[in-house]
């Protein structure tokens, strides 16, 4: 019987999620016009739901101080208080408001993950496109460096680098971005290799176009679809990597609120059958799923356009 009730609630949750996705899509179609509206009309409900969730995360991250009931590091009561009216999700191991920490965590974790992914993409795609376009020894050198970096397991490598350079937010971003840019490099290079053999690239070279123009106007627009899709996936991986490092204690340092370390700090509660420590993990999972819904749709569109 309990299984049936659980199934019922899961079904309700899915229906509500899809309904929200539908409403969100309808609203955005009504608000936009032209090509954007046409594009949105092709979005499946899952993508609508994904976009809605991403939008909520972004709003929460941007306006955290306005939304959160307390300050990020403020001790507001006893340790491990249960859920009630003043502390909607209770308090954590030091008596800080859990909801507040969750909201600020969105800002820190998502913000840092976004900055890291953006940096990884800038480095990886520029170098990858350059390697494919110039070819020859430059391609050889860059590709071999990337091979060496990729040969070392990424978690161990980042742990090593963070131990050497210290654990500040800047080094965290730089280390993970460097490691992740190798994956982006390989994708950008292989996509660009298929483009540089096209006649229009030959025509541009014969026209005497410079390297910068060749990469930005002739190659990049054609490589954009797979790169954007990869951006979504890569964002999730970076996000998980940061949370994993924080959980291990070398990522984002306390007292800064961060979802990965929040799970570790409150892990003791799990023993008592309380779901509170799993909420940050749920927040991570929800965002990951949402991003992937949107990415799936984009990938579908990108491959459909090639026909």
């Amino acid at each position: 019987m309990t299984i049936l009730i659980n199934l019922f609630w899961i079904a309700v949750a899915i229906a509500v999620a899809l309904g929200a996705g539908w409403l969100f899509r309808a609203a955005t179609i009504a608000l936009t016009r032209g090509a954007t509206a046409r594009m949105l009309r092709t979005a499946p409900l899952t993508a609508g739901f994904g976009m809605l969730v991403i939008l909520i995360y972004v709003v929460v991250a941007l306006f955290a101080p306005l939304i959160a009931p307390y300050a990020e590091r403020e001790v507001v009561g006893a340790q491990f208080l249960p859920w009630d009216a003043t502390h909607l999700l209770g308090t954590d191991n030091l008596g800080r408001d859990m909801l507040t920490r969750l909201i600020y965590g969105a800002r820190n974790t998502v913000g840092i993950a976004f900055a890291t992914t953006a940096l990884a993409f800038t480095m990886g795609s520029i170098l990858g496109l350059l390697a494919a376009t110039v070819g020859g020894w430059l391609d050889q050198i860059l590709s071999r460096i990337v091979d060496i970096l990729m040969a070392i397991p990424s978690l161990i490598f980042s742990l090593l680098l963070l131990t050497i350079f210290g654990t500040s937010v800047t080094t965290l971003i730089l280390v993970i971005a460097t490691i992740d840019s190798t994956r982006v490099f390989r994708l950008a290079r292989s996509v660009a290799l298929n483009i540089v053999v096209m006649d229009y690239i030959e025509a541009a070279r014969l026209r005497g176009e410079g390297l910068w123009r060749l990469i930005t106007r002739e190659i990049l627009p054609n490589a954009l679809a797979p790169l954007v899709a990869e951006f979504g996936l890569r964002f999730c991986f970076v996000f998980l990597a940061i949370s994993a490092l924080s959980f291990l204690g070398v990522g984002i340092q306390p007292p800064t609120a961060d979802w990965g370390s929040m799970v570790r700090e409150n892990a003791a509660l799990i023993t008592f059958g309380d779901v509170t420590p799993l909420l940050p993990a749920g927040a991570i999972a929800l965002l990951t799923v949402a991003v992937n819904f949107v990415v799936d749709w984009m990938l579908h569109r990108a491959s459909g356009l090639k026909e």
């Binding site: 096209m198 229009y200 025509a203 070279r205 014969l206 026209r207 005497g208 106007r217 002739e218 054609n222």
Partner: protein, 548 residues
């Protein structure tokens, strides 16, 4: 053999067939109510431009549609079986056994991982017609009838180990494996050189006659269909234009559209006076030897191209035509020899050439699809060379782009902000021309610019190129394997074979005997509209071989 025999029983009947294709959210018609009747042992030619629905109709005769298409109306009756009502299992039982299909590109249709004879045996063994050993014996027999070299041994090769023409014949043999009642040939020789095409056509015609197989022969080449078909059906945008016996159709087409198809090769450029002695050619290729790796693709070739003249470079694939173009543009520096431009030597590598040298020589590509960046709008595609070489910007640049669009006969307001994907094949090729013109060059290389286009569209492109040549004093190097194109546009002809120039001279001399033996072979292999042409040619060649 060529006459329609109404006494023969009807094999296939298509009645009022409607086929729709899905684009975006809506279904749009591809075939709009076509009837088709085919008797046993009869060959029906389906002709029309690309997009006319020839292949779609051909596949429908097997009860099959491509992904995203559906048969929305009509009946298909194959020897008493209703193919639309039949279950998928019933249809699968017919396909390969009683109805077979030969695709345009055999190279793309064979599985590269299996030997030819393994792929041959698949259908007969699957359908339980023959055992594996019988199928292999039978394959050798059919390979012999298709006049493949070494019929005992060729089946044990992989697809990449045999030539394109042989592969196409092996595919026809494979389609014949179960001795089907009907074969659908979808442009089986379009991708082949003229000299190879002859062999494949002759082999297909013989084997179809020997086994009394009915066939639907789909092609856009009228001269080819004249050789192969007993009856011809002309399609235009999914509708039937007319259908008649081959000889009747060739002699007296009824509809205007058919007449324009027949008249399409009438265009010929007026004969130009010979170039005065001592004029410096715009481009002069001097004793060029070039190649990739260790092999020489070009062996000591020389020819000149003069102002306001078109030099056609002819030869089959692999003869080095395109390599010659790559040497001139500087993509492939030659091992020996030089390229002179207006009498002065050009640097061998394009990277060493000045911007002005690059501007003077432009190129138009065969496949406009890959030659135009799909993400750039026409404004930028055409405008970029003008902006780069001539320093135009803002209003001056826009005006120039509009002028260029006018020149290539496209409405500027309608087209200037379009993407290449919003153009037809012929319009794309026109943009390729406009891009070359935007640089205000003296010399343009046209690499097979019309071979991917329908005859009517190709004719428009040739006329446009010709008009632009006299307007802007251009010199053209026209690479082609199509001698009909040479006849209509060239002033001089260079015939290439295996990287050597075998013959060169003014067009009129080239089309008059005496010829170099290779030129002779090339010229005689171009199909003519006369339905008896292939029979006569084969008889002549056999007689000659007998004498020799």
């Amino acid at each position: 053999m060529k006459d329609t025999n109404p006494a023969k029983p009807v094999l296939l009947t298509l009645r009022d067939i409607h086929i729709e294709g899905r684009s975006e959210e809506t279904w749009s018609p591809i075939i709009k109510g076509v009837d088709l009747t085919l008797h046993k042992g009869e060959v029906l030619g389906l002709i029309g431009e690309s997009g006319a629905g020839k292949s779609t109709l051909g596949l429908a005769a097997m009860g099959f549609t491509r992904d995203g298409c559906r048969i929305s109306g009509g009946t298909i009756d194959f020897d008493g079986i209703d193919l639309r009502a039949a279950t998928e299992a019933q249809r699968r039982g017919l396909r390969g056994k009683r109805i077979a299909y030969v695709a345009q590109s055999a190279a793309a249709s064979f599985n590269p991982a299996h030997k030819l004879i393994d792929q041959y045996s698949e259908a007969p063994v699957q359908h339980g017609v023959m055992s594996r050993a019988e199928a292999e014996r039978d394959a050798v027999e059919l390979y012999r009838r298709m006049r493949l070299p070494n019929p005992e041994e060729i089946g044990f090769r992989y697809p990449h180990q045999v030539s394109g023409g042989q592969l196409q014949r092996a595919m026809t043999a494979m389609a014949m494996a179960c001795r089907p009642d009907l074969i659908i040939f979808d442009e089986p020789t379009t991708a082949l050189d003229v000299t190879t095409q002859i062999e494949v056509l002759a082999a297909i015609r013989d084997i179809v006659a020997q086994f009394d197989t009915a066939a639907i022969y789909i092609t856009h080449d009228l001269a080819v269909v004249a050789q192969m078909a007993d009856r011809i059906k002309v399609l235009l945008r999914g509708d039937e234009v007319e259908e008649a016996d081959t000889r009747t159709m060739l002699a007296a087409p009824k509809e205007d559209y058919t007449k324009t198809l027949w008249a399409v090769r009438s265009y010929a450029r007026p004969v130009q006076p010979p170039v005065a002695k001592g004029t410096t050619p715009v481009v002069s290729v001097r004793n060029v030897t070039a190649g990739y790796g260790a092999a020489d693709i070009l062996k000591d070739i020389s020819f000149d191209i003069h102002k306001r003249r078109t030099v056609a470079v002819v030869g089959e694939s692999g003869s080095g035509k395109s390599t010659a173009a790559r040497v001139i543009t500087g993509l492939l520096p030659p091992r020996r020899g030089a390229i002179l431009f207006d009498g002065a030597p050009l640097p061998a590598d394009y990277r060493q050439r000045s911007r002005d040298q690059l501007r003077q020589a432009q190129m138009i590509y065969q496949m406009a699809d890959t030659a135009l960046n799909p993400k750039l709008r026409l404004r930028e595609l055409i405008g970029r060379p003008a902006q780069m070489y001539l320093g135009l910007n803002g209003k001056a640049l826009t005006d120039r782009i509009r002028d260029l669009l006018h020149l290539i006969e496209l409405e500027p307001d309608k087209f200037i902000d379009r993407l290449p994907s919003e153009l037809s094949g012929g319009q794309k090729q026109r943009i390729g021309i406009a891009r070359a013109l935007a640089a205000e060059p003296k010399f343009i290389i046209c690499d097979e610019v019309t071979s991917a286009l329908d005859q009517l569209v190709a004719e428009g492109i040739l006329k446009l190129l010709d008009r632009l040549q006299s307007e802007f004093d251009l010199a053209y190097m026209f690479i082609t394997h199509d001698l009909a194109t040479v006849r209509s546009i060239a002033d001089e002809v260079v015939v290439m074979q295996n990287g050597k120039v075998v013959e060169k001279g003014p067009k009129l001399e080239m089309f008059e005997p005496p010829h170099d033996p290779y030129t002779e072979l090339l010229l005689s292999s171009v199909p003519e509209m006369d339905p008896d042409w292939l029979t006569k040619l084969l008889r002549e060649r056999a007689a000659k071989a007998g004498k020799g």
